[in-house]
């Protein structure tokens, strides 16, 4: 017979040695915007794959909330179709789906309908009783941003956000505001109901394996950190280039532009992780403290000198003739929305003082590429006769986020022969060649992290507000100028000529990613 133990177990010893994430507590996820595109394309397939791979706890339940006329069975069928269409693993395992679907229910209501929240509360109580969700809730706002505040307000006033035992968390999709004021307003609204520790602001870029790999690359390899500073780095270029146009998102894009759509979040995230100091550990606040310090240290931008905006006209991309931005669906023929932005900035701290960072993003550029590229300074003197330092291509270290995730280092080598001639060669590491396994979707990682209460890969209040502060400064600068004669670059070009001039006046050139 088993021996009696006098003290209860403080941890699950059966988990020792399993190199797998901890299982979250049983919980109910309430998805607002349950009949929308994001739920169908990303959320439900992510939940299915988490269930398939045993990451979800027993009793995990989903309540879909939307104002679409659907019965519960119809909603489940709709979600099953979504999973069949968008799951990264195929074919869909029917028994696993069935097991997940048993915990899916649907509440039809407008997001501002007070009585609807009463029905939602009753459904959550039922799940606590019948499926053991123990008062643990994730409120996932997968709606258009204009509904965020009202949903938060109703969750607070109905008592759902605070009721009973268990943890409560809220996930907010981007865009988190559209300027500093609206972001502060939204933060204030959410804070009236939830504390900062309960808020998970998604930037799905941070859920990408390869973005996390930049942190590993920097902080798990002893050879890079000593040269990762102003003494050895000439400058850094960060590019998020897209070859696609705005597709069917004209209505949204007209109000956002490249500055809000990509610069405010993805580009500044990449800047933060490229420039940050090593955190003492990988917990949420340690990492985010360091990222925020980078944003705080950005030298005030002189918009007239340091920022270039562009808008694409008709052109050719990948052998296809494509329309200009002003000809796209739901776009004004006189639109002054930017589809390209290039920014030169400096970071005022000991590591980076006077080292320029060049950031650019745009639509309808010649290729799709996201990368952080570091150009190192040339050696001060070359001992080889008749070979000038200027003839050498500098060393580049490039961390590619997509496509072809990996890193490459450009180094000088001798061309064989009796004469000392140098040539630049590339050392390439393809992430995919060493780990040719399918990476989980960013949403799987982020949903699981949220359920485990780990906010490391989510944006914090001060981070979001700092980023918006920067965007506001640029917007204010633009407002005081007349817009450039748009369109000022043809689809298939690397932005307007002024973007080249921005970097060339410093004696540097944009990389061709």
């Amino acid at each position: 017979m088993a021996q009696a133990v006098t003290t209860p177990l403080s941890q699950n010893i059966l988990r020792d040695g399993l190199i797998l994430p901890r299982t979250p507590d049983p919980a109910a996820m309430v998805i607002f915007g349950a009949s929308g595109d994001l739920t169908a394309r990303k959320l439900m397939p992510a939940l299915y794959n988490l269930a398939l791979n045993r990451y979800l706890p027993s009793g995990f339940s989903v309540i879909g909330v939307a104002d679409t006329a659907l019965t519960e069975d119809e909603y489940r069928a709709h979600m099953e179709q979504a999973v069949q269409k968008f799951s990264r693993t195929q074919p869909v395992d029917r028994a696993v789906w069935q097991s997940l679907a048993e915990g899916i229910s649907y509440v039809r209501m407008p997001f501002d309908d007070k009585s609807g929240y009463g029905r939602l509360a009753a459904e959550l109580d039922r799940l606590d009783r019948e499926r053991g969700t123990a008062g643990n809730r994730v409120f996932y706002l997968a709606t258009a941003p204009q509904f965020f505040s009202v949903i938060i307000d109703r969750l607070g006033s109905s008592g759902i956000a605070k009721a009973g035992e268990g943890w409560k968390r809220v996930v907010v999709e981007k865009p988190f505001g559209n300027d500093l004021k609206s972001a502060q307003g939204l933060n204030q609204a959410i804070h009236s109901v939830f504390t900062e520790q309960q808020i998970f602001r998604i930037d799905h870029y941070l859920g990408k394996e390869t973005v996390q790999n930049v942190l590993v690359f920097r902080f798990a390899n002893g050879i890079f950190e000593p040269i990762w500073n102003r003494r050895y780095v000439d400058h850094i270029q960060i590019t998020v280039a897209e070859d696609i146009g705005i597709e069917r998102r004209g209505k949204y894009y007209e109000t956002a532009g490249a500055l809000r759509d990509i610069f405010q979040n993805h580009l500044l995230q990449l800047l933060s992780i490229a420039a940050m100091e090593a955190p003492p550990n990988f917990d949420a606040d340690s990492v985010r403290d360091e990222k925020v310090k980078v944003l705080k240290s950005i030298h005030p931008i002189d918009v007239a000198k340091d920022v270039i905006r562009g808008q694409y006209g008709p052109g050719w991309v990948g052998g296809q003739q494509v329309p200009g931005y002003r000809q796209e669906l739901n776009v004004s023929p006189q639109s002054t929305t930017e589809t390209f932005v290039a920014v030169r900035l400096k970071i005022d701290n000991w590591r980076w003082a006077e080292t320029p960072f060049y950031l650019r993003t745009g639509k309808r550029l010649p290729s799709r590429a996201s990368e952080i590229a570091i150009q190192f300074k040339n050696p001060p003197h070359l001992p080889f006769a008749k070979t000038a330092v200027e003839e050498l291509t500098p060393n580049w270290l490039v961390m590619r986020i997509q496509p072809h995730e990996g890193a490459s280092l450009k180094i000088a080598a001798k061309i064989p022969g009796p004469v000392m001639r140098l040539r630049t060669v590339n050392m390439d590491f393809f992430y995919g060649s060493s780990f040719m396994v399918e990476s989980p979707d960013a949403y799987e990682r982020l949903v699981l992290d949220c359920m485990l209460g780990d906010a490391t890969l989510f944006a914090r209040e001060d981070e979001v507000e700092r980023a918006w502060g920067l965007v506001d400064r640029i917007e204010a600068g633009w407002a005081s100028q007349s817009p450039p004669p748009f369109p000022n670059y043809a689809a298939g070009e690397w932005g307007p000529p002024e973007a080249d001039a921005l970097i060339e006046q410093d004696g540097k050139r944009w990389r061709r990613p």
């Binding site: 021996q3 133990v5 209860p8 177990l9 398939l52 791979n53 395992d93 097991s99 390439d428």
Partner: protein
């Protein structure tokens, strides 16, 4: 996924220096006659190699099977691979090496690997480790994969263990208690000591994961301290090492907090091979509970919790039926000694 696979070259050698030279040639695509586009690509990019892998096979048919497993493994683990076909019982001395380079493309990624097949008869077959050692890529871990039951008494086994960082076997391949004991000795001996990986242990990951998940739930964790028995139902044909290891695992884990768990093994002719059901019984002040996992056809595991006479939670998850190369791949990514495995093995033998 788009896949392609091509063999860039294959030549036969007998001298270690010639083999080394040929390996360099194929590694960097430097062959005069290899001006093909594939070879140029191979030369143009740095090679990603993550390990050296030595596989030992007993006969020619096995060589074919193992080669195809290694082909598939190279997608996730680009490596320098040495396959040793050591037939010391065949009389006439013989030593022959075949060097080849493979290139695989999958979803736009290209992986290039080199392979050496060393075929020896008679006395050279006993000393193949001396030929293998200089052919390894420096500074990368050496994994020795011995399919089937290792020849524990063959000096080649010890020589290769001396060379290797990790020995990978499959205890499902007819390992009896004596074999399991020998295996544990290899992990614990002072010389020619390698860490042990077992494909059968990798097959148990899902069972261990799901069993642990029961007690991740805060409401259930307290019950784990009141575990009073475990039943393992398994097919009765072939090796029972898998069931033994699972029982050994829970026994060894609970022993760390001073709890001795009685394990009941229930072999059943009507069940398919391997573990089919795993039941954990707990008692204590909170009343009796049963945590069960049942394996179903089609790669699924259903889990149930019964508190008293009430079923409270059920779910179905995937129980992957993993191919040998996938199991190997798991074992290749585990660092150093797998203390948990060694403790489970020890508890299974008690």
């Amino acid at each position: 996924m788009m896949q392609s696979h091509s063999e860039l070259s294959a030549r036969t050698f007998v001298d270690v220096h010639a083999i080394q030279e040929e390996l360099d040639q194929v590694r960097w695509g430097l062959h005069d006659g290899a001006g093909s586009e594939a070879a140029q690509h191979a030369a143009a990019e740095a090679r990603a190699s993550v390990l050296n892998l030595i596989a030992v096979v007993g006969n020619e048919p096995e060589l074919g099977e193992i080669s195809s497993v290694l082909d598939r493994l190279s997608i996730t683990n680009p490596s320098r691979t040495l396959i040793l076909l050591a037939q010391h019982t065949r009389e006439a001395d013989k030593l022959e090496a075949q060097v080849s380079a493979q290139e695989r493309t999958e979803s736009g990624h290209r992986v290039s690997t080199e392979r050496v097949i060393l075929h020896a008869h008679g006395e050279p077959a006993r000393h193949l480790a001396s030929l293998a050692a200089p052919l390894l890529i420096p500074d990368l871990p050496v994994i020795l994969w011995w399919p089937g039951r290792p020849q524990f008494d063959n000096p080649l086994f010890d020589d290769l263990c001396e060379l290797a960082d990790r020995l990978v076997v499959d205890t499902d391949e007819g390992f009896n208690d004596a074999d399991l004991t020998r295996l544990l000795e290899v992990a614990r001996r002072p010389k020619a000591r390698a860490s042990i990986g077992d494909l059968n242990w990798a097959r148990l990951i899902a069972w261990r994961h799901v069993a642990a998940q029961f007690f991740d739930m805060p409401a259930m964790l307290g019950r784990l301290a009141h575990i009073h028995g475990v039943s393992v139902f398994h097919g009765s044909d072939g090796s029972t090492a898998q069931a033994r290891l699972l029982g050994g695992w829970i026994r060894s884990r609970m022993a760390t907090v001073g709890i001795d768990v009685p394990i009941e093994f229930r072999p059943d002719d009507s069940l398919e091979h391997g573990v089919r059901r795993f039941l954990i019984y707990t008692g204590g002040d909170e009343g009796p509970a049963r945590f069960s996992m049942i394996r179903h056809r089609g790669g699924r595991l259903s889990t149930h919790i019964r508190l008293g006479d009430q079923d409270v939670a059920e779910r179905t998850v995937r129980l992957e039926s993993r191919a040998i190369e996938e199991l190997l791949s798991i074992e290749l990514t585990l660092p150093g000694h797998d203390v948990l495995f060694e403790q489970a093995l020890e508890a299974a033998l008690r």
